[in-house]
């Protein structure tokens, strides 16, 4: 509350969305209210099938809301034409469609499509914006590479550069890190946060990468079946426990101490002592092995690493688990 000084780039008011399937109506999202702020990286999180893609489609003007409206800077998107909308919102989609013959430079130049004349010829301003988009995403060196000859991570950066060259106030990305390795995921998300902060754009990212989203996002939107959209700083949502709304059932829980998702710890009957991080990993391994009871106390030591169980000593967790399993079920 009380943060209304921030500039609202996109606003949803009482939004109800759904599909007509043959003759039956299927309501997907009902009565949503949301605000997307300029200069912030917002992550939209929610389980599969909750209606994230539907919401994105509505924001892109591809489906009409049943009720309520979406405003871009106080203008309803229904009153904006396709061309006008394209000047305000750019997207990066999940499906990797790309022509192999095209170079990175040509791809980024396509981002200027809504701003150019009938033949798509770039003027000097357009070329400057394309250059800037390439350098902002740090892929200027890739300009003349063909899309078929660069890595998935580079290609995704090129797609982001294209969206940047489209130069709208809003950028929407649908799972931009889905096919990427860990380092590339971080890089892409940090790039997006920088874009939001430095260019004052409102960036909305649909993602399932909770860990990386917590590290990089300025704001979370949590979408869950039958609840209103919850918006807030990731840290606030973690402390208040609202983040657990993402997790149906009792099996998983968000660990406030470790900042990540964990299996709900069952009733464990064993004692481990020693340095904190060693205890954590040893406990984790024992738990994963399905062992819930160890008779004697376990002592873990650092430098050199060793585990003592009664008189037994082990130099690796592997050894300990092997021993414990034999104790429980000697036939194996």
């Amino acid at each position: 509350m009380g943060q209304n000084k921030q500039h609202i780039a996109l606003e949803g008011k009482g939004l109800t969305l759904g599909y007509f399937h043959q003759k039956s109506k299927k309501e997907i999202l009902s009565d949503l209210d949301f605000q997307l702020f300029s200069g912030e990286l917002t992550c939209l999180l929610g389980p599969n099938g909750v209606g994230k893609s539907t919401l994105i489609k509505a924001i892109l003007g591809q489906i009409k809301p049943w009720k309520g409206e979406i405003l871009i800077e106080t203008q309803s998107i229904e009153n904006l034409g396709v061309e006008e909308l394209a000047k305000r919102i750019s997207v990066v989609l999940t499906d990797p469609v790309f022509p192999g013959n095209m170079t990175v430079g040509q791809l980024v130049a396509l981002g200027r499509t809504p701003h150019t004349g009938w033949s798509g010829k770039l003027n000097s301003t357009d070329r400057e914006i394309v250059e800037k988009a390439l350098s902002d995403t740090k892929i200027t060196y890739l300009r003349n590479e063909r899309l078929s000859e660069i890595s998935d991570g580079q290609r995704q950066k090129a797609m982001i550069a294209r969206a940047l060259a489209q130069d709208g106030k809003l950028m929407i990305l649908d799972e931009p890190t889905a096919h990427l390795d860990l380092v590339n995921r971080f890089e892409i998300m940090e790039l997006l946060r920088d874009i939001a902060a430095q260019k004052g754009k409102a960036v909305l990212v649909v993602t399932h990468d909770l860990d990386i989203a917590i590290e990089t996002a300025d704001r979370f939107w949590l979408l869950n079946c039958g609840t209103p959209l919850i918006s807030g700083k990731p840290e606030d949502l973690i402390i208040s426990g609202k983040i657990n709304l993402l997790l149906p059932g009792e099996k998983y829980r968000f660990s406030v101490e470790r900042g990540k998702l964990e299996s709900e710890i069952q009733d464990l009957r064993f004692e481990i002592s020693g340095p904190k991080e060693l205890v954590f990993w040893t406990r984790k391994a024992i738990q994963k092995a399905g062992i819930s009871e160890v008779k004697s106390p376990i002592l873990v030591e650092k430098d050199p690493f060793s585990i003592s169980l009664g008189e037994k000593k082990f130099d690796s967790i592997d050894g300990l688990i092997f021993y414990l399993k034999i104790q429980i079920d000697p036939i194996k």
Partner: protein, 339 residues
Amino acid sequence: MNTKRYLFPIAFLLLGLSFLLNLSLGSVWIPFGEIVSGLFSSDWSKASWEQIILNYRLPKALVAICAGIGLSLSGLQMQTFFRNPLAGPFVLGISSGAGLGVAILMLAGSAFGFVLSGVNSWAIAFAGVLGAGLVLSAVSLVAWKVKDSMTLLIVGLMFGSAVSAVISVLSYFSGAEALKLFTVWSMGSLGALGWSQVGILGMLILIGCIPVFGSIKSYNALLLGEAYAKSMGIRTEKMRWLMIGSTGILAGGITAFCGPIAFIGIAVPHLARIVWKSSDHRILFPASALIGAILLLLCDAAGQLPGFASTLPINAVTSLVGAPIVIGLIMKRNFSRDF
């Protein structure tokens, strides 16, 4: 980059050469110099050469250029619009439609036991345009209902098959003479047209090209798929109508006047992509038009058997000459990656 700059001048030069080659080849060999001086200063050393060139070979060469341009441009539009390297000008059932029109004109009489008088080239062209237009309208009706371009592609193919089946039925019941006539038509011919028909064909090609030039930007955006194109402010629904209209006029008109001509429409856009190494339609449209015209001129020249008065049917030549070239080029490069 440097070699790229010379590609268009080279292509224009090749076009000129193949045009001259096309004019000079035939049952009588006419030297290049004679043709040039004859065309520019009406100075012919033999009156028969003037007759041959002006009344037979020149209209045929112009038809080859028109058909080459038209078929290549409609093929390129189809391939980009449907994001499918196998799409060609006839995937929406246009050639089958024209075939149906002509088949009804030529075969129905003999099949149902009455005689249609006046089977001349005008009537054939008219029937072809009518048939192509009919099938195209049916496909358009579907296009109006379906949102997805892949569905449209499949519906077009199905229409084509259904129409071909009707032609088969007509062929089955028709007499031998009519059947021979229809078979000859279906092999395609560039040389059967007089000057007035060449004029009309040229007009149709010009009209069909207008929507192409109007939507170069949209075709470039479509390279990223329909969803991205929409997000960049392209009205894909409007484009679909322009595409259907343009290919209908181009491919429909050509099929009506010359009969079906295979291979050019599918292969030429790929050749243009390979030669120019580009997917930018500002380059691909003129490049495809040039290659299409050159290739059809050469195919027609290749069909002129030396020493014989007759020519091979153009539809057979395009496939015989063209298919090995394209297979060779494709085997060398990773084709689907370049698309």
